[in-house]
């Protein structure tokens, strides 16, 4: 994978590549992508894709109301809370 492709992929993945990481991580990504190309040896023309081992169609649950008691506990996870409001970091 060339450097430009690596940077584009990193941007899509929201990962900032440090200069020091480009060589090592870039090398490992290229090694794995080359390994993935081994899959080209197999003829897959007649095969349907398997997305899931056993479930062949989407499963839905009834759209019904269930009370949850977790709200306060989940709010407590926020690093900065004012009453029941989550304070977001100042990014201006």
């Amino acid at each position: 994978m060339d450097i430009a492709e690596l940077y584009t992929t990193a941007e899509l993945a929201q990962i900032k590549l440090e200069d020091s990481e480009v060589e090592s991580l870039g090398g490992e990504v290229s090694q794995m992508v080359a390994y993935f190309k081994k899959m080209m040896e197999v003829s897959v023309d007649a095969l349907e894709p398997t997305t899931h081992a056993f479930i062949k169609k989407n499963r839905l649950r009834p759209d019904t109301f269930h009370p949850s008691t977790l709200a306060d506990d989940i709010l407590e996870q926020s690093p900065d809370l004012e009453d029941r409001f989550i304070c977001i970091p100042n990014v201006l």
Binding site: L6, Y35, F36, V42, I55
Partner: protein, 474 residues
């Protein structure tokens, strides 16, 4: 430890102090726990309305740190979640709580389950109780090491590409990867949703079986679960034919020897052996890593410093906040897999990689349909090597991935698999694994039980069993 104790008494008022002291002494060497707090674990109660039993009453157990336990941290071995405390417990944990089990702590793991050594954990080092210079395997290395070191009789792990079976194999204990959908994934931090299952590590077969039967169930909180009883086929006594994977397997001598020995034992026990090959085996690993990294890149998008995870001290704008969070929060292996997953899902590359991998998955499913039309169980190695060394003396990250070829097949096909210890070679444990048709875990327990009587398993010399009251290992 001067005398053996009964597991049921370890956390009773009279025994708790000695138990905690002994675990702390042992774990200072092994490093299996990230958080160890039996008094807090004793306070845990099932929150959901579940039927309570006495099946595991008073028995201590450990939980891999990507499975939620209320009021305990849920770090996934990552700086990203180093301070995250779970507000609820996973369904599998709730079921064990309802059966009377007592969680004593959370175990170390490769960061987000990505690795085969537990060395990618950002939060601690876990070593193999058989030889502290070796890795415990991964990614459920902490769970396997805790069980092997005699700290708990069983532990929960997760298996996405072999992450329960390989560390169990390295540490000389049993490791079950159940059928996909047999155990709810609610409360498991998602890595590769179509592949991963919660599994069990145990030193004795009865615990393995009891715990699996406790946690398996359909769960309305995980729509991929199925009612195991609707599909299971208890024809344990009728298991007569075992398929054995043959061909050029590339095993280290100790592993090859154990594999050949089990084959002989199966013959001696009266099983008919059918030699078999898997045409798709060489493509399982590239297909597995394509699918697993693709799913990981989507699942780990939520760790961005806003929705979840490490928040940087300062950032100029939202984009920088997200990037800094991920840059500072994730380790190198996680970044590598997110990059790979993003790449294989990019427009223009999807057909070449992701779609092709899913079609190879179909071909592998067909391979196994054929296998189980001819035999009742299937024997294959777990990993080509025994436990390797920490650091540069071991396998590099790429070699570790390629070595997943025997374990990833069960995840791609959703089939159950059980790693069983077979003995010791060169001071380190050896083992094999069996696979069975979907929902036929009972066959795997049966095979393990029958083989056990013909094997000498031993235990780590520095960490003899702490407890009595269970059938001993011969």
């Amino acid at each position: 430890m001067t005398q053996q104790i009964n597991w049921k008494e370890t956390l009773a008022d009279g025994g708790q102090k000695a138990y905690i002291a002994e675990v702390k002494k042992r774990d200072a060497l092994v490093g299996s726990f990230l958080e160890f707090d039996p008094p807090r674990g004793k306070m845990a109660r099932p929150q959901a309305e579940v039927q309570t039993t006495e099946e595991l009453a008073g028995i201590p157990f450990a939980i891999k740190d990507n499975i939620a336990l209320r009021n305990f941290k849920l770090t996934c071995g990552s700086k990203m979640l180093a301070h995250f405390v779970s507000p609820y417990s996973a369904t599998a944990v709730e079921k064990i709580l309802a059966a009377g089990g007592i969680p004593v702590g959370k175990t170390n793991m490769d960061e987000f389950g990505m690795g085969s050594s537990t060395d990618t954990s950002a939060l601690g080092t876990t070593s193999n109780p058989w030889d502290l210079t070796k890795v415990a395997g991964g990614s459920s290395g902490g769970s396997a090491a805790a069980v092997a070191a005699g700290l708990v009789p069983f532990a929960l792990g997760t298996d996405t590409g072999g992450s329960v079976r390989q560390p169990a194999n390295f540490c000389g204990v049993y490791g079950l990867k159940p059928t996909y959908g047999a155990v709810s994934r609610y409360g498991l931090v998602a890595y590769a949703s179509s592949l991963e299952t919660i599994g069990v590590v145990a030193r004795e077969i009865p615990y393995l079986e009891k715990v699996f039967n406790t946690i398996r169930d359909q769960d309305e909180k995980d729509n991929t679960t199925a009612d195991w009883r609707d599909f299971s086929d208890p024809k344990e006594g009728e298991v007569t034919k075992i398929g054995v994977l043959t061909g050029s397997l590339g095993l280290d001598p100790g592993v090859a020897e154990a594999y050949a020995q089990v084959r002989q034992e199966l013959l001696a026990l009266g099983y008919e052996i059918v030699e078999m090959q898997l045409p798709m085996l060489d493509y399982a690993v590239p297909a597995y890593y394509t699918i697993a990294t693709a799913e990981a890149s989507a699942n780990l998008a939520r760790f961005n410093g806003i929705r979840y995870g490490h928040r940087p001290v300062y950032s100029e704008n939202p984009e920088e906040l997200v990037q800094k969070s991920r840059d500072e929060g994730f380790g190198a292996e996680v970044k590598l897999r997110i990059l790979l997953g993003t790449y294989v899902l990019r427009s223009g590359f999807q057909d070449q990689f992701y779609l092709r991998a899913q079609k190879i998955r179909t071909a592998l499913v067909r391979d196994f349909d054929k296998v189980f039309s001819q035999v009742d169980g299937f024997l294959l190695p777990v990993f080509p090597t025994q436990a390797f060394s920490h650091g540069d003396g071991g396998l590099d990250p790429f070699q570790q991935k390629v070595a997943d070829k025997f374990t990833t097949t069960a995840n791609l096909t959703g089939l159950p698999a059980l790693a069983i210890p077979t003995g010791v070679s060169g001071g380190l444990p050896t083992g094999v694994q069996f696979m069975a048709p979907a929902f036929c875990e009972d066959r795997l327990f049966g095979l393990a039980r029958r083989l056990k009587s013909n094997l000498t398993l031993g235990e780590p010399p520095e960490f003899p069993a702490l407890y009595a009251g269970q059938e001993g290992r011969s």
